[in-house]
């Protein structure tokens, strides 16, 4: 049997250097999308190649990595990404949020407040919030350059009038550091306030659309909202996790087959390691 030989961190040094330069400019321009030459990797685009390239450009052997998908460390996507990264860097892996130095994620920000020594890498499928009003990427880039966001405000207001609420459940648009309109990736509205004045650094990678952007710590992140229709997180009063009892976390529902063969819906914390820790102490 032949063993596969990888270079450290899978991608070559030229590619890492380009990602690193883009990351430094992204941090210096909070919320601005910096183009980069996204590489082909042994996973399909759309499955986190943008986030993966950032993680591989960052990781030192002494880092401790956590990978989650939909809040779950054990989803197939998270397991595959984690295996690939560990095989090519030798970093230690963890499911415990507090133990990680770098966390790669799709869909969720962990429930525990992240610390200053932690970096969260988000996988981004759809990069530009202006796609709702301007499908042409070049014209959208010019609109960002001029902070020309009037049409986006109109679009948001019309969606309020039509639906009675802001319809955009995930990828909620925000203004970063009072300047750039930014997509919040497929994170739920529940997680959007965690980006505002955080202690940790947030890095966003879109492999298919070849863009990198960032939210530094202690940076203003303001959801688009209106005086008569303020931004709200998802919350159903009285609902709580069936496993740990938490009434103050982002919940998901999934079908479970009972002993009698009947299918029931069970609502639990989306952040599985947060939920497991709460069950362990209770």
């Amino acid at each position: 049997m032949h063993e596969l030989h990888y270079t450290y961190g899978l991608i070559d040094e030229d590619s890492k250097r380009e990602v690193r330069r883009a990351l430094l400019k992204a941090v210096a321009l909070p919320g601005h999308q910096v183009p980069f030459a996204s590489r082909d990797l042994p996973i399909a685009r759309g499955w986190g190649t943008g986030g993966l390239q950032i993680t591989l450009a960052l990781l030192a052997p002494e880092d401790i990595l956590k990978v989650i998908d939909q809040g779950d460390d054990e989803s197939v996507n998270a397991v595959n990404l984690r295996r690939l990264i560990a095989q090519t860097t030798g970093v230690a892996l963890t499911a415990v949020t507090a133990d990680a130095t770098v966390i790669q994620t799709r869909h969720r920000i962990p429930e525990e407040r992240l610390r200053a020594d932690q970096i969260l890498v988000l996988q981004v499928p759809m990069v530009d919030p202006l796609r709702w009003v301007e499908p042409n990427l070049e014209r959208a880039t010019v609109m960002h350059g001029e902070a020309d966001y009037g049409r986006m405000w109109v679009y948001m207001y019309e969606s309020v009038i039509r639906a009675g609420d802001l319809r955009i459940a995930t990828q909620y648009p925000v203004i970063v550091a009072d300047r750039y309109l930014m997509d919040t990736t497929p994170i739920p509205r529940w997680d959007v306030p965690k980006l505002h004045q955080a202690d940790a650094l947030f890095l966003f990678g879109a492999g298919r659309e070849k863009r990198i952007y960032a939210v530094p710590p202690h940076t203003s992140v303001a959801p688009l909202e209106f005086e008569d229709v303020p931004f709200r997180v998802e919350y159903t009063p009285g609902q709580c996790c069936a496993r740990c009892g938490c009434g103050d976390s982002f919940l998901t529902s999934h079908a479970v087959s009972g002993a009698d063969g009947a299918t029931r819906w069970v609502t639990t914390c989306s952040d599985t390691s947060f939920c497991a820790a709460r069950q362990a102490v209770s």
Partner: protein, 202 residues
Amino acid sequence: MVPMSTPLETACRATFRTLLACFARPGTLGRLVAPPLAAPGPGWWTGIAFALLDQTQGVALAHAGRWRSADDPLVRWLTLRCHARHVSAPQAQLALLADPACAPLLDELPQGSLTYPEAGATAVVLVGTLACPAADATVWQLRGPGIAAHCDLALDAAAGAWLAPIQRSRAHYPRGIDVVLVDQDGRCAGLPRTTRITERGL
């Protein structure tokens, strides 16, 4: 078998992580490392050069108030070893400015465009010390993204010459220049273009 980084790759990664941390938290001091190879100029500069430069990048270096020419030994070494292109200041992605006499040259570096502000240069500015005893220090108060409220940065008095050109370099945000201050011992502080600086009397 898990692949290993070469010592040079390890130094490049450490340099990048230090720069990333310093840009994410302006005013917080980092410490740059020298890669294990003989090079003209300070070791930490060699680390920055290898971390950021390649054939796609233009570099310009200044000392004693003038840009170094193409036949300067440090320039020749960089273009040969990092494959960077030696360019005039308005074309540079990365610049090294070695003393306060170079402060006016910061105005010549590119600030990018409204559409592509990331084309604004990264300027590495050498100062005397970033660990200055309070009595002799120039103190800058910093505000902006990455800083909770505000923080102070103490520099040697001669570094005060950089204040006005750095302030000018960020007057038209998002266009601008991102600055890394480095001292003789490799201590560094990031001043990305979002950082607003005022001089504070002691």
